[in-house]
């Protein structure tokens, strides 16, 4: 059954101006249409005795055996074979934003939760415009004030960005619950793998300026646990810091964890074949990323003093993932490390 084989994660490119729910429904409708269009099995046959006029004539009838199809299997009676598909959505995008939007089908929905628990960073290109301030921080809101912006230079902007990155770095270290004085923490920091593995307010891990042409500018932002409105507010605050004002013209997600813009399917390719191909292409990457993150998650947690509470959650994930690491092995590992330090 084609629908049962269709399971996994893939990314679509959500266009701006539509809600994410509609995108999900549109994908579901298209897939259902293609699945139902596939030729159905032939209807069952049944032997019935149909009366036909006897050859002798004169009104006598005799029964003749005939094979007739069973009408209960007729497509007009049975209806479409597939009526619904379980499609789940990953990190959402609001109406005005566009970009990579991860969807899961069938068993892939379970991987969605695991991906969420990996807390991987997302990368956005955010476009801004100096000189205006609106109530919802975007260029379609009600205008609040207009300012001059001639005094702004690229250097000043980058200075502000560095300040933002610095404050966010502090928040990052605080929320990732790592004891800074350990060797593990240093190694992770060198590799750049320190992340908050639980709930936290939005954190920006990296921010830089891609283009600067007054009054427009474009930033690339790597962030965690964010919302698109938070990014727009950030643009507004950058404007305020530069003693001017700014509105956000575009929020576009170019990367969500392991899915990049190249993997995302544009609207013209939302069909069964492309989606199957996309699932196959991304499968290996998703699996490796999940294993890597959860393995590091255990190592990270075991080294922190207050990490035992979170270990339970990770243990559950390990069970669900049914990775090679068994709980016995991890416990031994943890015990070993405890003994080393103690």
């Amino acid at each position: 059954m084609a629908a049962a084989e269709l399971a996994g994660l893939f990314a679509v490119y959500k266009p701006a101006g539509v809600a994410w729910g509609r995108v999900r429904e549109a994908v579901e409708t298209r897939l259902l249409r293609e699945l139902n269009a596939a030729p159905a099995a032939a209807p069952r046959q049944r032997v019935r005795f149909l009366p036909t006029p006897a050859p002798g004539g004169g009104g006598a009838v005799e029964l003749v055996a005939a094979r007739v199809p069973v009408l209960a299997d007729h497509p007009l009676v049975r209806g479409p074979r597939f009526r619904k598909l379980k499609i789940g959505a990953g990190h959402r995008l609001d109406v005005k934003a566009s970009g990579v939007f991860v969807l899961g089908i069938g068993h892939g929905n379970k991987l969605l939760t695991d991906l969420y628990n990996c807390h991987l960073t997302k990368v956005y290109t955010v476009g801004g415009l100096f000189g205006k301030a609106t109530d919802d921080f975007s260029d379609t809101g009600n205008l609040i004030e207009k300012t001059t912006f001639d005094h702004i230079t690229r250097e000043k902007l980058e200075r502000i960005l560095a300040v933002i990155q610095g404050t966010n770095q502090k928040a990052l270290l605080m929320y990732s619950n790592i004891d800074m004085k350990t060797q593990e923490a240093y190694e992770l920091a060198v590799k750049g793998l320190i992340r908050p593995m639980g709930k936290s307010p939005p954190i920006i891990t990296a921010i830089r300026c891609l283009q600067f042409a007054l009054p427009e500018f474009q930033l690339e932002i790597h962030c965690l646990h964010e919302t698109q409105q938070y990014l727009r507010k950030m643009v507004h605050e950058i404007g305020l810091e530069l003693k001017s004002s700014a509105v956000c013209t575009q929020v576009r997600r170019i990367r969500d964890g392991v899915f990049t813009v190249d993997d995302a399917l544009p609207r013209t390719q939302w069909n069964l074949q492309s989606i199957q191909e996309a699932i196959r292409n991304c499968q290996l990457r998703v699996e490796t990323e999940l294993e890597k993150t959860l393995a590091h998650g255990e190592g990270q947690e075991s080294s922190s003093s207050a990490g035992w509470g979170q270990l339970g959650m990770l243990g559950r994930n390990v069970h669900e993932q049914s990775l090679q690491y068994s709980t016995a092995a991890t416990c031994q590992q943890c015990d070993g490390q405890q003994k080393e330090r103690g």
Binding site: Y13, P15, A16, G17, V18, R46, R48, F49, L50, P51, G59, A60, V61, L63, V70, L71, A72, H74, L76, V77, R78, G79, P80, S98, R252, V261, A264, P266, R267, T268, Q269
Partner: protein
């Protein structure tokens, strides 16, 4: 959406064995007489007995005529609908309907205890055994029409016409209605009427899928409504068009139609001719709610998105030329209605891949 089925009672079976006549499908509602609902496979000649295995408490099996079933005591409750009444009367052979009612009357008078029940274990001859047809019983109630379609003439003919029964069974009471109709008496006349009005043959299926209730309407009422529309100076082809596009139109009574037309004339301030034009092109305005504009808005939005993308692509390429005077003019019609591949290669002179890459930068 249930079809109530008559639970067969085995006692009647042995009484039927005396009948041995050709069975005909009978409507159960006829006068409260216990009608004999039967399968269609009856022979004219000496009918062999078939065995019907009755599950449950009743101990005996009866010798029945081939595939016949008997309803419960009609005297007790004579009014229930049964899908059997629409069994395809494939054999149009000799009918001896008079025998059955007489037998029924006689049977009612007899005392049931006089009849010795025959056991399921008694020995029968080979020929009789071969002639037993024991098919599973039709369910008493069901939420789909699948189980009944093979046994009901109306349903079979409707499926051959193209009616989508899986949609019909989802509507309120539509399935029940279809099962209780008799093809020869009611449905045929209405179909001929619809053809008269001007609905095409291949449109009958989709029409009935959207509006199965029309088969339950009174024929005179339908004709009155068409006459009303004609009196309002709608031509025959126009009426045909309206009815095809808005299947519910003929379900509205004359007053309701009048009110709605009046609403369009008065509230929207359109002249008579304009109202007529509008109604002919969009008869669903009459049948829908009075805010049908919202539906149009949604369609508009999705098209708007497509148009916006295409326009931005053209602007990016520098080909957005909408002034007819200039060369390489692109008409709005082309912008909107062409399929994607044609648009890319002809109008934008770029490949599909370029268009997709551009889409991903928006």
């Amino acid at each position: 959406m249930m079809a109530v089925w008559a639970r067969p009672v085995s006692r009647w079976g042995c009484l039927l064995s005396a009948a041995r006549a050709a069975e005909l499908p009978r409507r159960l509602r006829s006068g409260g007489r216990p009608a004999r609902a039967c399968r269609q496979l009856a022979r004219a000649a000496a009918l062999p007995a078939g065995k019907e295995i009755v599950p449950g408490r009743l101990p005996a099996c009866r010798r029945l005529s081939v595939g016949s079933r008997s309803p419960p005591d009609g005297a007790k409750d004579g009014s229930f609908s049964s899908p059997e009444s629409n069994l395809p009367s494939v054999q149009q052979g000799q009918a001896k309907p008079e025998i059955l009612p007489d037998l029924n009357a006689k049977i009612l008078d007899e005392d049931w205890d006089d009849i010795p029940p025959s056991s399921a274990l008694e020995v029968i001859s080979e020929e009789e055994a071969v002639q037993i047809i024991a098919e599973p019983l039709l369910p008493i109630q069901s939420s789909t029409l699948r189980e009944y379609v093979d046994h009901s003439e109306t349903l079979t003919k409707l499926v051959h016409l193209g009616v989508d029964l899986s949609q019909v069974e989802k509507r309120q009471k539509a399935g029940q209605l279809l099962l209780t109709l008799d093809f020869e008496k009611d449905v045929k006349k209405k179909l001929l009427f619809l053809k008269d009005v001007g609905v095409e043959d291949n449109q009958l299926g989709p029409f009935l899928t959207k509006n199965p209730y029309i088969l339950g309407e009174d024929l005179e009422a339908l004709e009155t409504r068409v006459a009303y529309l004609k009196s309002k100076k709608f031509g025959k082809s126009e009426i045909a068009q309206m009815v095809s596009r808005a299947p519910y139109l003929l379900l509205f009574s004359v007053e309701r139609l009048d009110n709605r037309l009046g609403f369009f004339k008065n509230e929207l301030g359109l002249s008579v001719k304009k109202t007529k034009d509008l109604v002919i092109r969009l008869p669903r305005l009459l049948t829908g709610k009075i805010e049908p504009v919202k539906e149009n808005l949604q369609v508009f939005n999705s098209k708007l998105l497509r148009i916006r993308e295409r326009h931005m692509f053209l602007a990016f390429l520098g080909r957005a030329q909408y002034d007819p005077a200039q060369p390489s003019y692109i008409s709005l019609d082309q912008l909107v209605s062409l399929p994607d591949e044609v648009f890319c290669t002809e109008i934008a002179k770029a490949s599909m891949q370029d268009f997709e890459n551009f889409l991903k930068t928006l």
